[in-house]
Amino acid sequence: MKTKRDKIGYVFVLPYLIHFSVFVAFPLAFSFVLIFHKWDIISPMDWVGFSNFSKLVQDVLFFKAIRNTLVFLVIHIPLQIIIALALAEFLNQKIRFRGFFRASYFMPVVVSGVVITILWQQLYAQDSGIINSLLVKLAGVKLPWLTSVKLAMPSIAIMATWKNVGLYIVLFLVGLQTVPKYMYEAADIEGASHWQKFRHITLPMINPTMIMVVIISTIGGFSLFIEPYIMTGGGPLNSTLSAMLYIYRQAFSFYHMGYAATLGFFFALIVFSVVLIQKKIIERENIY
């Protein structure tokens, strides 16, 4: 029998439903419609069928942007996991000023990405940057951090790691604190070294956290935008042009809304596939 309380439930979920309809369902449905149209925002839409897809498969620059994004991920994700895990392990020990260190590492996460990017742009500056000033004193060289085709993307990956590592430290800390203490005690009795305990107890036990960190940082890495947009504009020679930056340019610099929507859907498909593969691999490696 339905009661009045059942109906009140719908009222409670209504704000979410409205939000979902306006900000998720409608844009998603609309961008799906856009895939088959040519539209510059102010003129009426033109039906173009699958021509946006045929343009996509011939778009060399888009595939270069995807390759750049993958290069970023290959550097950024392992670097981030290693640093975050090492620091989490360190901050999980009984050390002095633990709270202060935890807060310090988390601080860049809450600071605006634009502010951090501008700050690092100054650090990386070839002529006047602090990093190069130190390098000149130590080794007598200056590196073109943001103007070299080979160095620009790794430089961005280092900066992104610095910004995001605090969040992953917190996640790993949560994971580390769920590992039962008796396991380490048993290992101590067996005479296991610190590394053996880490390799055979900690790592397998925090595997669910690892899956989450890899997936979140992969999705975050695929959305690379602010850093190249502000620091390099996609250069030098399109070596830091990320897929998101390319899609943004197509949509909001050149008003190719239909084509940008097609690129967006295709890119979402790639992200989904990569995350699915990662999940399968990491789950399979769950060795006790």
Partner: protein, 431 residues
Amino acid sequence: MKNFLKQISLFIILIALSCGNQQDQNSKRITLTYWSANNQDEIDLARSLVAEWNEAHPRVQVKHQPIPEGRSSEEVVLAAVVGKTTPDVFSNMWPGDVELYVRANALTALDQFADFDSVATDRFAPEKIDEARSTDGHVYHILWKTNPIMMIYNKKMLARAGFDKPPATYDEFFELAERIKKDTDGDGYIDRWVGITQILVTWWQRFFDYYTLYIAASGGGTLLDQQGDVKFDNEASVRVFRFLQELFEQNYFPRERMDARADVFLHSVVATRFTGPWEIRHANKFKQEGFEFDFAPVPVPDSSIKPVYTYGDYKSIVLFKNSEHPRESWEFIKFLISREADLRLLKLANQLPIRKNILIDGKFRLYFQDNPKMEVFAQQAQRVRGADSSPVLREIFDALSQEFEASVIYGVKSAEQAVEDAAERARLIME
């Protein structure tokens, strides 16, 4: 008692009549919305002009708003056109975008007004009216102001390099560059350069290097011809690419961004820069004691025709089609481009109105006497070119910018190949 009643009745009738008049007046009063640029100088100018207009025109009141904040005014206008929330009049339209809005049927043709021709010929030389004409033959915007791009130079740095006047040709510029280039701190890296330009590939950055130099080298040419076909794959383009390429190759220009540090020109790190009249106020405000600067036309190839043309960085006034009062809006536009308003544009905003004979018109003489550096820009403003009218102009500039980066900054392509590739890409975009 009768008298009292009569007086009361008369009073009520008078009140009723006056209310009726008031209502009638209110119903006839109209309000126009005017958007100006949102920098403080132009806000002050707009406020002063609107206050004067409103006082003189009680029936047609103007409500001034600085253009709402956004990443760029172009994006805000686009959003307003789509949302049909445009003002009646807007005074900061980039002419390169006009054709896009014309095709979207968002602008009113100004030449439909009976007095357009007399207003236009009073203000402009015939070539300027043609420059503003759309591909359908109508005029949808009034070219209002211009910021001619010139070369600012550090007088003391040039004097120390043995130059008592600024370099006028590419050869002279290279000679100056060689004398300025220096490693002052002995770390093995150059830290003084002849000039600087933005290395970002953002399409509009090319207005301040390639496009300005191309207009100068080609004697006033632009990217497209009158039929809208690509015409920049020519000797002038190649020369400009080669010139800039050598500046980077020889380390005369730094291959890095310096916009995050203190102004490199005012701190004598670079000796020149291609810039507009806005630099005068900025330099005067932030220069150090004893710093001297002046302006000169941008350098040209040795064989180029004199006098030198440059990019004009125009801004226009437009009347949007969804205005309910186009005639009154046109009257307000005429007020905005009057001689008195132009003088105020100079005085309050330090920007040059696009007006013929401005240097010999007595109304402006005193201003230029007091502001000799602005006179240099006013002289240059007689020989400026804007951007072509094309809905795909941004993409054409993007194609040029990509080739500019490959050829000029990183030298992975010859100047000839870069120009050819940019033109080919531009033709594909136009298809």
